[in-house]
């Protein structure tokens, strides 16, 4: 039990360090760097042109499709990992079950493929 807690203490320490470093570095930077903001410096960079409109626009729906595909297949691994870990116990029966499961997902993949989800049209 102690070991269990200790390991996560270490993870927490890493997390703390990970957060501390940027804070420290940026604080140090703030002390060292000059700070003379002007209007020009703070405009959005658009290859030297005056910026047009904002960038908070609708993106291409294609990105969502990727996100959806990602969600589906990433969740698949939720089942694949435990199965893989316990594979030696589970044996053939679970293999076939998992095959069925993955086959169904592959059907989904084919569906997306055929519906041209993976066809990237610019942007």
């Amino acid at each position: 039990m102690e070991a269990y807690v200790n390991h996560y203490v270490i993870v927490t320490i890493f997390l703390t360090l990970g957060i501390l470093l940027p804070i420290a570095a940026l604080t140090v930077g703030r002390l060292l760097r000059p700070n003379r903001p002007t209007e020009e410096k703070q405009t959005t960079y658009e290859s030297g042109n005056e910026p047009v409109g904002t960038a908070e626009i609708r993106f291409n729906a294609r990105y969502y499709l990727y996100a959806l595909m990602f969600v589906i297949f990433d969740v698949e691994t939720v089942f694949l990992y435990p199965w893989a870990v316990a594979y030696d116990w589970l044996g053939l029966f679970a293999l076939i079950e998992m095959l069925i499961f993955v086959a169904l997902l592959v059907v989904g993949l084919i569906y997306a493929w055929k519906k041209k989800v993976f066809q990237w049209n610019s942007i």
Binding site: A61, Y64, A67, L68, V71, I72, D74, V75, V78, F79, P82
Partner: protein
Amino acid sequence: MEQMLGSYLTLGAILFCIGLYGALSKKNAVIVLLSIELMLNAVNINFVAFAKYGPNANLSGQIFSLFNMTIAAAEAAVGLAILILLYRNKGTTDVVDMNMMKK
């Protein structure tokens, strides 16, 4: 460890209520969907807490929460897809504007 269970359940309940509140009162449809996810995750906390500290602790709670995650993902996927469709056709994700029927 008994107290642990209580705190987890309280956390779950608080999250669930926040989620419910968000789902019922928020205007932005995306936040509504997020709130639903929050509710489902609150339930997962419950399951995992019971699986660890419950009066009859065993693994099935964790298994249940695995299934929940999957299902929540699928639901979110479908929900988002529908939301995109709606946004394309109506140009808004404001829940208040969803009153086409009922007139």
